[in-house]
């Protein structure tokens, strides 16, 4: 399993009713259903991902996340998860509001653009970074809102959201003290657990 998914696995409470935005082939939901008895749905637009979910018996709904979550009621879920999809949305900030309307807590992972390898790629080589977490060329990437660990933290603070956990995954420095100390530099994937603004 992808290392950001391993982290999420630890954070998801057993029996939670969850929504997985951009659920891909349903691997996370499948694992969480088997090991943590979660219920819920995955949202996806990729036809192959949708078929894969259906084949493995994971509930998947074809829905374009850029159109929001208006079809979901306030507080309908315990948790909303979005892995590696935020950066591909038109308005990540509005999606964050939507996620925390539908559930009190959300878990978000995205590629950290400030990861040292990405910086080196751009800073020394002078090319847009291409890596394991950013596998696309600049001209065909779906990632239209790349951000850094620090950027996202700042957005959460501006919105008054509570950051319950933050971690980094993947890369050479996973679990290493350098990544814990300097996540913005040594974390390839940013992983955040966010709660609604304090009343």
């Amino acid at each position: 399993m992808r290392s950001d998914l391993v982290l999420i696995h630890e954070w998801v409470p057993a029996g939670a009713h969850i929504l997985d935005l951009g659920c891909g082939d349903g691997e996370l939901l499948d694992t969480l259903a088997r090991e943590k008895n979660v219920s819920g749905y995955g949202l996806e637009i990729d036809p192959e991902g949708i078929t894969a979910c259906i084949a493995r018996g994971i509930n998947v709904i074809e829905q374009n996340l850029d159109q929001g979550l208006a079809n979901f009621d306030d507080n309908a879920y315990d948790l909303v998860i979005m892995t590696q999809a935020l950066q591909a949305l038109r308005r990540p900030d509005l999606m964050l509001d939507e996620m925390l309307r539908v559930a009190e807590e959300c878990i978000i992972t995205f590629p950290n653009f400030a990861y040292w390898r990405h910086r080196a790629h751009l800073g020394f080589k002078g090319y847009m970074p291409v890596s394991k977490s950013l596998p696309y060329a600049w001209y065909d990437t779906p990632n239209i809102h790349l951000s850094t660990f620090n950027d996202f933290e700042q957005l959460c603070r501006q919105k008054g959201l509570i950051i319950r956990d933050q971690a980094v995954g993947n890369g050479d420095h996973e679990g290493h003290w350098t990544a814990r100390l300097w996540p913005n530099l040594f974390g390839e994937t940013a992983v955040f657990r966010i709660g609604r603004r304090a009343a």
Partner: protein
């Protein structure tokens, strides 16, 4: 008492008879007679009735591999295979039923029937009312989706099917699937609802009403007693079908198929057929008007209009869906404007609200509402993936 017709199903090896290898081959319809009266939603009771049906594939020993096919407005029991070696066309859903197809007859035992009120052999307006000895005609009791589902359950009883592995249907057929999940939740293991809607819109009902008025205002209609007058309301039925047909196709599909093409090079400045689309619609209408019964058409459109399981729950579909306990697969088509994706999404949202198991795919297709009848790679992939999961969960082995 239930009496089963003695006709046995003859399903031959398709390849032997020159039919496609993925066809169920030659099939023979069967007829089941039911003597137990069927109480209907309209308050009347059908004292006895026949249901005509076909089956494809083999029922396994524990009778767990049965799939029920529910037909749409002008559909019938002949969903797959051929009645005669020289049939030009196979059954109406042959694209999806057969060996290796989405509903794989190597694994599943498929049951497809003609609903009550139909005109293809099941008891309907063309049958004789046993009380009067006269053709039912317009006096045939009004049907509802609920009545159909009850009659289908009686057929399942007869066939020894306690629980369907899946109940599957498109359009009006999808409504029957929904009703199955509510009326007999313990008898349906999976539901596949394709190009359907939890209720008709005002526009849908309006189109149906135009179709009904076209039929009923035909001088040959004779208040529905046309057979007794040796007449047929062909013009009315033709018009009804023409209007219906427009709603089954998308604007793009019609544009692509016909555009503004003329039958001949120049305008004739008259009212005979000039554009290809006129020719097509007239042909469709003519064919239908001689092969379908007008009273059945009227009745089927009313069945559509009445369906609204949420109505008794103050319009709250999620509450109405509470009894359902099977996983659903819901499929819609992008260019369907009769029951557009938004109508399927209403159902999907309500199912999610009710916490039910549901997957939903919105298939890109230029073919409008008719897309549910046609083969399309992504549609087939989604449908097959779901049915394979159904087979896996039920531990069904392929028989060939």
């Amino acid at each position: 008492m239930i009496v089963q017709d003695t006709t046995t199903l003859q399903s031959t090896d398709a390849t032997m008879s020159g039919m496609p290898a993925d066809s169920v081959g030659l099939v023979t319809p069967q007829k089941a007679h039911f003597d137990t009266p069927l109480p209907l939603a309209c308050g009347r009771t059908l004292p006895s009735y026949d249901l005509v049906y076909e089956t494809y594939g083999e029922l396994n020993d524990d009778r767990s591999n049965a799939v029920l096919i529910c037909h749409a407005l002008s559909g019938h029991h002949h969903a797959a295979g051929y009645h005669h070696k020289d049939d030009r066309k196979p059954g109406w859903w042959d694209a999806h039923i057969g060996p290796g197809k989405s509903i794989d007859t190597n694994r599943f035992f498929v049951v497809s029937l003609n609903n009550l009120g139909g005109c293809h052999g099941s008891t309907g307006p063309c049958s004789i009312d046993p009380e009067t000895g006269r053709e039912w005609g317009p006096d045939f009791p009004m049907m509802t989706v609920t009545d159909w589902v009850h009659s289908q359950a009686k057929l399942a009883d007869l066939l020894g099917i306690e629980r369907f592995a899946a109940v599957v249907g498109g359009s009006l057929g999808g409504m029957q699937v929904m009703q199955w999940s509510l009326a007999y939740p313990e008898r349906i293991a999976n539901a596949v609802v394709i190009a359907a809607t939890p209720k008709l819109s005002a526009q849908n009902i309006a189109f149906n009403e135009v179709a009904r008025q076209a039929i009923r205002s035909d001088p040959e209609f004779h208040g529905g007693r046309y057979h007794e007058h040796g007449a047929l309301p062909r013009r009315g039925l033709k018009l009804a079908r023409m209007v219906g047909h427009i709603t089954y196709l998308s604007e793009d599909a019609m544009g692509y198929k016909f555009g503004r093409d003329l039958r001949e090079d120049n305008f004739h400045f008259g009212y005979d057929v000039e554009f290809q689309v006129e020719s097509y619609l007239r042909y469709q209408g003519d064919t239908f008007s001689t092969s379908f019964d007008a009273n059945t058409y009227l009745l089927m459109t009313k069945v559509l209009d009445y369906f609204d399981p949420a109505a008794v729950h103050g319009g709250d579909l999620a509450t109405a869906l509470e009894p359902a306990c099977c996983p659903f697969l819901v499929i819609s088509f992008s260019s369907d404007w009769r029951f557009p994706p938004s109508r399927s999404e209403e159902l999907v949202d309500a199912l999610m609200q009710a916490g039910k198991s549901v997957s939903y795919a919105r298939i890109e297709s230029p073919h409008g509402h008719d897309a549910f009848l046609l083969p399309e790679p992504r549609y087939q992939a989604v449908f097959s993936a779901f049915m394979e999961r159904v087979a896996r969960d039920l531990c069904l082995e392929a028989s060939h």
